[in-house]
């Protein structure tokens, strides 16, 4: 990667860089398309007739519901902590991120174990109000939307907060000059300015929801992903599964195209300047504003945390051995390596788009980030097929020159990291792209006048301005990799069992309380460093 080439204004370099980054995901998509050929017609007919109609409706309801609710929660919470001063604000500011580290499937199980008919809450209530008491079931459409929104709102919150925090005072000053009240300023100035961030966050939430399998499985809520899994796992037709996956990717691509077009109509130029001062709240207003983040944290973090902690304690004595610590170490190592790799690719891609913002480059960038909407298992298959092909090619080449090929390309960490890169490029791309949009051409021109060119321009001017986006991107990828299950399971080499693998092994045997220990560790090991990092990032300098 050579970002200076991307920053320069010649046409071919950026296109090549974008093409190089997009080559990985495109290879995966092609492999999936090839693998999809030859699905038995009878299986496809069965799926179309009996499975797809129901799951399509379910999927639309779930994706729209979760994206709107998570978007609303994330945006409102970000706006509150960046615009107002109220009790515990500085704690909320970073604590509201912590639920990001709780995998949605874990939150789902805690919710069902706690709130279903047989759970402690309803059992206690029946003890008070009589056996006839019936409450709205948690295992319902509303329940799954609520749980997924609580697990995914941090993606929007993180991006939106970065936007509000860096909008600067001048935009608000202009709004005040025009006689806008703070609320009007939010709706007419701040929100439109933060739109790329919020939209980016909501797009991530939508894609994550589409690709989710674990959470909907716990709720037994059938979605498109379920149908893919069904074709594969119950009809034993990987081809039919890949055809469905292809349809899913196509839908996502179309949706993203519309989003892109809507966004392209707007220009986003930061006025800059120091951050706007926060308005101090007191009395009932302060109490009311404190209540929202407090409630969200209680539901998404504190109560599940207590449940997980209690379960973990039951099993800690037996399960906490040396193996366990090395699993935690591998989780962190994979998270760090993936974050570094994915951020590097995302920066290259974002610069390429910036230097050559035409349809081709943008299209390549879109293709490159589609992997986030693919169910992990499907993506793993798409990575496996070309790697196996490449392996055979090397083997043949080695044989041709009489050399010996160890024949284990599949079993290296590189394959796992490549799969992560395809899956999580979107996660790093969203904040970096939004951030880079803030760095205007006039900043470049000004820097050039002062003698900063090429790499120096990147290092001395862009990087300090990109800090928020870069740290956000790295943190998101790190935590996502810590939680990731299907790709890790399928492509990990021997000995690379992580915390998420532990969670899988226990939960798939129904041992949810034993899974609490590794689940809690994912939260602790993954998130505290991230929260600290982001706190530092908030400080100037």
């Amino acid at each position: 990667m050579n970002p200076s080439a991307a920053a320069a204004d010649d046409g071919r370099g950026p296109l090549l860089i974008a093409a190089a980054v997009a080559a990985l995901p495109i290879t995966v998509l092609i492999a999936l398309a090839v693998g999809a050929i030859g699905a038995p017609a009878a299986d496809m007919r069965h799926l179309l007739e009996h499975v797809l109609p129901g799951v399509l409706l379910n999927t639309v309801v779930l994706v729209v519901g979760v994206t709107l609710l998570a978007g609303l929660l994330g945006t409102v919470l970000a706006w509150l902590v960046s615009s107002y001063d109220f009790p515990l604000r500085s704690v909320f500011a970073w604590a509201l991120l912590l639920p990001m580290a709780i995998p949605a499937y874990v939150l789902a199980f805690v919710a069902i174990a706690g709130l279903d008919f047989a759970g402690p809450v309803q059992t206690a209530l029946r003890g008070v109000f009589g056996e006839g008491l019936r409450l709205p079931p948690i295992r319902s459409t509303g329940g799954v939307i609520l749980v997924m929104s609580l697990a995914l709102y941090p993606y929007v919150y993180l991006l939106a907060r970065g936007a509000f925090a860096t909008q600067g005072r001048r935009a608000l000053e202009v709004a005040a000059t025009l006689g806008l009240t703070p609320r009007q300023a939010l709706l007419r100035v701040q929100l439109p300015l933060a739109r790329p961030w919020i939209a980016g966050g909501m797009a991530l939430v939508a894609m994550e929801t589409l690709a989710d399998f674990g959470t909907v499985a716990v709720f037994n809520y059938d979605t498109f992903t379920t149908a893919i899994w069904r074709a594969w796992s119950t009809l034993y037709s990987i081809e039919a599964a890949l055809q469905l996956a292809g349809a899913l990717v196509l839908l996502v691509a179309i949706a993203l195209m519309f989003e892109q077009r809507a966004r392209a109509a707007q220009r986003h130029t930061a006025l800059g300047g120091p951050a706007a001062p926060r308005r101090r709240l007191a009395g009932w207003r302060a109490a009311a504003v404190t209540a929202l983040p407090a409630t969200v944290l209680l539901l998404a973090l504190v109560l599940p945390g207590i449940a997980l902690g209690a379960w973990a304690l039951e099993h800690a004595a037996r399960d906490l051995d040396a193996d366990w610590w090395s699993a935690a170490g591998r989780s962190v190592a994979l998270g760090l390596m993936a974050a570094a790799l994915v951020c590097a690719l995302a920066i290259a891609l974002a610069y390429a788009v910036r230097a050559r913002p035409d349809g081709t480059t943008r299209g390549l960038a879109r293709l490159a980030t589609l992997g986030y909407a693919l169910p992990g298992t499907v993506l793993a298959v798409g990575v496996f097929l070309p790697v196996a092909g490449l392996n055979n090619l090397f083997e043949a080449a080695a044989r041709a020159i009489g050399a010996d090929w160890p024949g284990y390309l599949q079993g290296t960490v590189a394959v796992l990291l490549l799969a992560y890169a395809v899956r999580f490029l979107a996660v790093a791309h969203a904040p970096l792209e939004a951030n880079l949009g803030r760095i205007t051409r006039s900043i470049d021109d000004g820097a050039r006048l002062l003698g900063a060119e090429g790499l120096a321009l990147l290092r001395r001017v862009h990087l300090p301005l990109l800090r928020t986006g870069l740290l956000t991107a790295a943190a998101l990828v790190f935590v996502d990799v810590m939680k990731e299950m299907p790709i890790t399971l399928m492509t990990r080499p021997f000995g690379w069992d992580t915390l998420a693998v532990r969670v899988f092994e226990l939960t798939s045997e129904g041992e949810w309380t034993r899974a609490a220990l590794p689940a809690l560790a994912i939260v602790l090991v993954g998130l505290l460093p991230v929260a600290l990092l982001l706190r530092r990032a908030e400080r100037p300098g």
Partner: protein
């Protein structure tokens, strides 16, 4: 942290990651980071859908006793079989362990398992619990049975009302039945067994009756289902016997009893957790030895006990909890037949709308 330093750190880690990741497994850098995938003699590599916590103690003991290192990769059967398919002749796997006969049948059907004529295995494992072509052998038996609330019914009353699976379709059970999701292989396998027993139309009628009797949406796990029976949300359900066994092992007395279905007829539906030798095994002899060891009576008892199952080897004893469940008449149909019918069963369940 300055952004520059952050980027330097990122770049360094990225480079290191790529170096580690791309280097051949036999280089020192990779060896330090990961256990090298290249396997030496005296090792067996196992792809297992039976979860590691259920087999790790036995594998560790075997390694210690024989010096043969057993290395396992866990995942669900689907991805493991796909992995075997993709790796082809290069696969490092010697054994495939699944928790369902259907998955073994499918792996064998895809040519991923090799026939294994082992006299000792054939003597240990009954014919209906293994592949007719000897490509896989059952190692533990689980029964999918009817369980009911002893708070709601006396054993006599329940036994008089319910003789088998089909009785749960009667309108008398409306609003009283709990089922697990149709997505789980255990239910698919049960419906496949019913198709083999009664034919498709009759099975569809029975299963429609079940769905009409549901007290609540299907559960995502048998454990949650049993808890719902305890709480009184429903009074009867269909579960694998060992989930109740585990619950009893953990909590002591539980107000749930087992009613073995169809004891005057075809018997309770049983499935297996079993293993097969892969077609491209690199350590064939060592793998066969491990498999034969797993089928010996003493090991069989422990293999089954880890999960409160019935040993596949009739000479081995189950745990006390399982012995107290009784020794039911088991559906004698070959589990291989049931595996073959699974796609048909899946389609039937989709048509009916069993979620």
């Amino acid at each position: 942290m300055s952004a520059r330093r952050a980027l330097t750190v990122l770049a360094t880690v990225a480079t290191a990651a790529l170096l580690v990741g791309c280097s051949r497994p036999d280089t020192p850098a990779a060896a330090a980071a990961a256990t090298p995938p290249a396997v030496a003699a005296g090792e067996v590599v196992v792809y297992t859908a039976r979860k590691y916590q259920l087999v790790e103690d036995l594998f560790a003991e075997y390694s210690k006793a024989t010096g043969t290192q057993v290395r396992a990769v866990t995942d669900d059967a689907g991805p493991l079989i796909q992995r075997l398919r993709t790796e082809g002749a290069d696969t490092p796997a010697d054994l495939l362990i699944t928790v369902d006969a259907g998955d073994l049948w499918y792996a064998a059907d895809q040519g991923l398992l090799a026939p294994l004529e082992s006299r000792s295995l054939m003597a240990s494992i009954p014919a209906n619990l293994r592949d007719p072509s000897n490509r896989w052998y059952g190692l533990a038996v689980r029964a999918r049975t009817i369980a009911y609330s002893t708070t709601a019914y006396t054993p006599e009353a329940f036994a008089a009302a319910v003789k088998g699976y089909a009785d749960l379709a009667a309108p008398a059970w409306k609003g009283k039945l709990c089922l697990r999701s149709s997505k789980h292989v255990y239910n698919r396998s049960l419906v496949a067994a019913l198709i083999a027993r009664y034919g498709e139309p009759k099975t569809e009628e029975i299963v429609r009756g079940w769905i009409a009797n549901l007290a609540t949406e299907p559960f995502s796990s048998d454990t949650l289902l049993l808890q719902a029976i305890v709480a009184g949300q429903c009074s009867v359900g269909i579960v694998n016997h060992y989930y109740l066994g585990r619950m009893i092992a953990e909590k002591g007395a539980v107000p749930i009893a087992i009613r073995w279905p169809d004891q005057d007829g075809a018997g309770v539906h049983v499935n297996i957790s079993g293993a097969g030798l892969t077609a491209h095994a690199k350590h064939r002899d060592a793998a066969v030895k491990l498999l034969e060891w797993l089928a010996t009576p003493a090991v069989q008892a422990r293999f089954a006990a880890a999960n409160q199952e019935y040993p596949a080897n009739p000479e081995a004893q189950p745990t006390d909890i399982v012995r107290d469940f009784g020794a039911p008449l088991q559906d004698p149909i070959a589990v291989a037949e049931v595996g073959k019918l699974q796609p048909t069963a899946a389609k039937l369940m989709d048509r009916i709308g069993w979620r």
